[in-house]
Amino acid sequence: MISGFKTKHQPTGELQFVVEFILAPEKYAIDGSLVSEVLPLNNLTIIPGVPSFITGIMNIRGKITSIVNLKRFFNLKEKGLTALSKILVIKHQLMEFGIVTDEIIGINQLDIGSLSPPPVTLQGEGAGYILGVTPEGTILLDAVAILSDNALIINQK
């Protein structure tokens, strides 16, 4: 469902440019301005002695980048890594790391006004990373919150 810049919804307020992806079985979206690139998963190096949400590290154009598995945050069922898994690289100020996704859907524009707050049933560490849910059921993630999370920062060092 790549709608590109054409949106079916009547804009009721501010439109946000996002990149949509799938973390089985849910569809997620993240602020497109923070996304630096998408790339296939290869040359992943697994590091011992790190928290379980750090899948490993990758050399991306000569830069060592941490790869985070968000499924651990949202207590989602893991399929494991496959050759089809894609990495979504996000960057905010100095922080930069990759998120493991099952599939990259594409770019989109979301009506921020139509967002509903995250369901109370959603628990776990990742609860604080969600900005809201679209009427179509796409979960909009707070990329800045993720990037500024202390756990990740500590780990970065």
Binding site: G4, V19, K86, I107
Partner: protein
């Protein structure tokens, strides 16, 4: 048992008759001895009676001599004396003669002999005294002679007389004893006679009774034997009747057998002909078996060719599978490329979005590239599906070729086995041909045998006819035997014991 009884009976009879004979002999001997004894006793008695008479004579003679002596004494006449003297002498000779006889008789009897010797001694004394007296008389001395007689001669005479009387009485007693003995002998002999007679009678009676019993027994047995004879004769008659019937039946059977043999002969002929036709058809079968063998060999060759081609097919299929795999690999790399293209398009779109209004045209291009990448991905997906189907088909082909190879092997084996079977069949047919030849020969022999049997059956027929005649004669004989049995039974009933 019966034999021993019979022997016993015979022995008993023999013993019985022997006993009777022995008793008779013993009786005869006893009677003879008794009679001899009586005869001897009587002879003795006669002798003793004579002796007694002679003694009496001697006594009377001596008495006479004494009287004559007295007469002589008393007579004066010389002549008369002389005559008396001669008379005395005569008497004395007579006395001597008697004495001599008596002595002979009493020889062996000591009592009598002693007495006789005394008498003889006394008589000698008496005679010597008498001679002396005669001398006295001749001298004429009468007184003296008388005195002598009185004193000497008379006592001697008296003694002699007394002794003679004694001796006589002895003889008398002996005679009486002999008479008594004879009497007892007669009684003994008579008793013996009567006893033996009774004994013989008893034994004879016993044996006659025994014989009668035996006779009765024998008669009873003969009777039962005759009854059995009668029954047996009747049975024989029945049996002979049956045999006669049987002989007649045999004759009929022999006739039937002759007919049957003729039929068998015909059958043998037919069998020989059949054997010939079977021989021909089995030869044809043999040829067919040979043809079958060749066909099977050709089949096996064909099977081998099929096997080779199957192997070639298998190789081709394997090669096809390999090529399929390379196509798959190529498709995968195409897919990979499409994937990466897609990502690149997404990246381009993100960059275009970041660029704002300036990047709008680039966004469209990125969108187009993305859709091309999607299309090539879909195409590779279709290719992959097709390849999967091809793979399936190849797998099936591999399995089919394997099965085909196996089937060909089985077919080949079956064909070989058919070949063997046809070989066995061919052998069997050949054996059958041999058998048929033998059967043909056998049926020929059978026919020859039947030809020999025919005259033999004729002979048997004759024999059975003779048998019938013979049986009829036997029947007559059996009837006679039966009549004899019945007659014997009638006779037995008549003289029932």
């Amino acid at each position: 048992m019966k034999k021993s009884i019979r022997i016993n009976t015979r022995n008993k009879l023999m013993i019985g008759f022997g006993l009777i004979l022995l008793a008779i002999i013993i009786t005869e001997v006893a009677i003879f001895i008794g009679i001899l004894g009586i005869k001897k006793s009587q002879e003795n008695m006669v002798l003793e009676l004579q002796t007694t008479a002679q003694l009496t004579q001697v006594r009377s003679d001596e008495n006479r001599i004494r009287a004559m002596m007295l007469e002589m004494i008393l007579t004066k006449d010389r002549v008369k004396q002389e005559s008396i003297q001669s008379e005395i002498k005569k008497r004395m000779d007579e006395v001597n003669h008697f004495m001599k006889n008596i002595r002979l008789v009493i020889e062996g009897y000591p009592e009598e002999q002693a007495k006789f010797d005394t008498i003889a001694g006394l008589m000698e004394t008496y005679r010597e005294n008498r001679i002396l007296q005669l001398d006295i008389i001749s001298q004429g001395k009468v007184e003296e002679a008388l005195e002598f007689t009185k004193a000497k001669q008379n006592p001697v005479y008296e003694k002699i007389r007394q002794n003679i009387l004694d001796l006589e009485s002895v003889f008398q007693k002996k005679n009486e004893k002999i008479i008594a003995q004879n009497g007892s002998r007669v009684v003994f002999v008579l008793t013996l006679l009567i006893g033996m007679g009774i004994l013989i009678l008893a034994v004879a009676l016993f044996f006659i009774l025994k014989m009668l019993t035996l006779l009765k027994k024998i008669f009873t047995e003969i009777k039962s034997g005759i009854y059995i004879l009668g029954t047996s004769a009747a049975e024989i008659l029945t049996t002979v009747n049956e045999v006669s019937t049987g002989a007649t039946e045999t004759a009929t059977a022999v006739s039937e057998t002759t007919t049957t043999i003729e039929e068998i002969r015909q059958t043998a002929l037919i069998a020989a002909q059949r054997a010939q036709s079977v021989l021909e058809s089995s030869q044809r079968a043999s040829e067919a078996a040979e043809n079958g063998k060749e066909s099977v060999e050709r089949t096996i060759e064909g099977m081998e060719r099929i096997n080779q081609q199957m192997n070639m097919i298998a190789e081709s299929v394997v090669k096809l599978a390999g090529q399929n795999r390379s196509i798959g690999e190529i498709t995968a790399s195409v897919n990979d490329i499409a994937d990466q293209t897609n990502l690149l398009a997404v990246n381009a779109a993100i960059e275009a979005a970041k660029a704002g209004e300036l990047g709008r045209g680039f966004t469209v291009v990125a969108q187009e590239i993305r859709s091309l990448a999607e299309q090539s991905k879909q195409a590779t997906g279709q290719v992959r599906e097709i390849l999967a189907e091809i793979q399936k088909a190849v797998n099936l082909a591999v399995m089919a070729t394997e099965q085909g190879t196996k089937a060909v092997e089985q077919g080949s084996n079956l064909a070989s086995r058919s070949g063997e079977m046809i070989g066995i069949l061919s052998e069997s047919v050949n054996e059958a041909v041999q058998s048929v030849i033998q059967i043909s020969a056998s049926s020929q022999q059978q026919m020859a045998g039947m030809d020999q049997i025919a005259p033999a059956m004729g002979n048997i027929k004759q024999a059975s006819e003779q048998n019938v005649v013979g049986t009829q004669q036997t029947l007559k004989a059996a009837q006679n035997l039966n009549e004899l049995g019945q007659n014997l039974r009638k006779i037995l009933e008549k003289y029932h014991v």
